[in-house]
């Protein structure tokens, strides 16, 4: 009986929890894509452009967890060539790329925790975009 119950919980966990994890991952990826494009669009080689890029990311209205929760702890970084990323680059003139990371999307596990799974599963996502013309690069 208990073995059957564990198997049933595992099956329910696979359908419910893993389903939600996949959705959260997908939602986070779409959000970071849009946010990276919004940031890259504002890059103009000035410090004010970097500030506008960060502001644009904070105004991207998409949500996750079936469209119910705001993204928190979003990180915006900049780079000249995609090799070194900085949140606050000293030289804004050479910046041509923006990268957005949504690191804190923690899906609460409902059923799988009863069969030894974790309480939460973090689903991070990131995307990078270049300016002129704005295109996603990763």
């Amino acid at each position: 009986m208990s073995v059957t119950m564990l198997l049933l919980l595992a099956v329910m966990g696979l359908a419910f929890d893993v389903g939600r994890i996949y959705i959260a991952r997908n939602e986070a990826q779409v959000f970071t894509d849009a946010a990276a494009m919004a940031a890259a669009q504002k890059l103009d080689g000035t410090k004010a452009g970097l500030d506008r890029a960060k502001d644009a990311v904070s105004h991207v209205s998409m949500r996750w967890n079936l469209g119910t929760q705001e993204f928190r702890g979003v990180v915006v970084e900049f780079s000249a060539d995609g090799s070194k990323w900085e949140s606050d680059p000293k030289d804004a003139a050479g910046v041509t790329m923006a990268r957005v990371t949504a690191p804190d999307n923690s899906v609460e596990i409902t059923f799988l925790r009863a069969v030894g799974g974790p309480n939460n599963f973090v689903v991070p996502a990131h995307a990078a975009a270049m300016a002129n013309p704005v295109r996603l690069t990763e």
Binding site: F16, G19, I23, M37, P133
Partner: protein, 150 residues
């Protein structure tokens, strides 16, 4: 002996009811999440495409043509589909909302793509998705208000 058989029947009936309910619920949620995930991917692809395509608005017909291309990208994965089989079961172009966000001059600054009135039929219950999933992408394409759609 007869009495024990009766007990076993009652036990089976109670257990089967619980099991069937659990499995039905599992299928219900699993299938709904599966379809929702496909829709997130579809509107994401449509949003990316809309954000990067040229905005042509010589007249209302051109605007509508542009919207139709975006809807096709969401539904068929192709702006000009040759194969009319949707990427998500039973999704139709009229169930995709495309809305341009514009500045004071009328130039597009962003595009919103969302699903409306899409029923997820998971056998035991039908869930209707209204406005979800939805995405908003910044417009980064070429702005050509005087051009006609090809």
């Amino acid at each position: 002996m007869k009495n024990e058989r009766g007990h076993a029947m009652i036990e089976l009936a109670v257990c089967a009811a619980v099991m069937v309910s659990c499995l039905a619920g599992t299928f219900q949620f699993g299938y709904t999440f599966y379809i929702y995930n496909q829709l997130v991917t579809a509107v994401g692809n449509g949003g990316r495409y809309a954000a990067m395509r040229t905005y042509r608005a010589a007249n209302d017909a051109d605007l509508e043509k542009g919207r139709a291309a975006i809807r096709n990208m969401v539904v068929y994965g192709d702006a000009r589909p040759s194969d009319l089989s949707p990427v998500v079961a039973n999704l139709r172009p009229e169930q995709v909302d495309v809305e341009w966000v514009k500045d004071k001059t009328g130039a597009p600054t962003a595009v919103r793509v969302a699903i409306r009135n899409y029923p997820v039929n998971a056998v035991f219950k039908t869930v209707s998705l209204e406005g979800r999933p939805g995405v908003e992408f910044p417009f980064v394409g070429r702005y050509a208000p005087a051009e006609r759609e090809p």
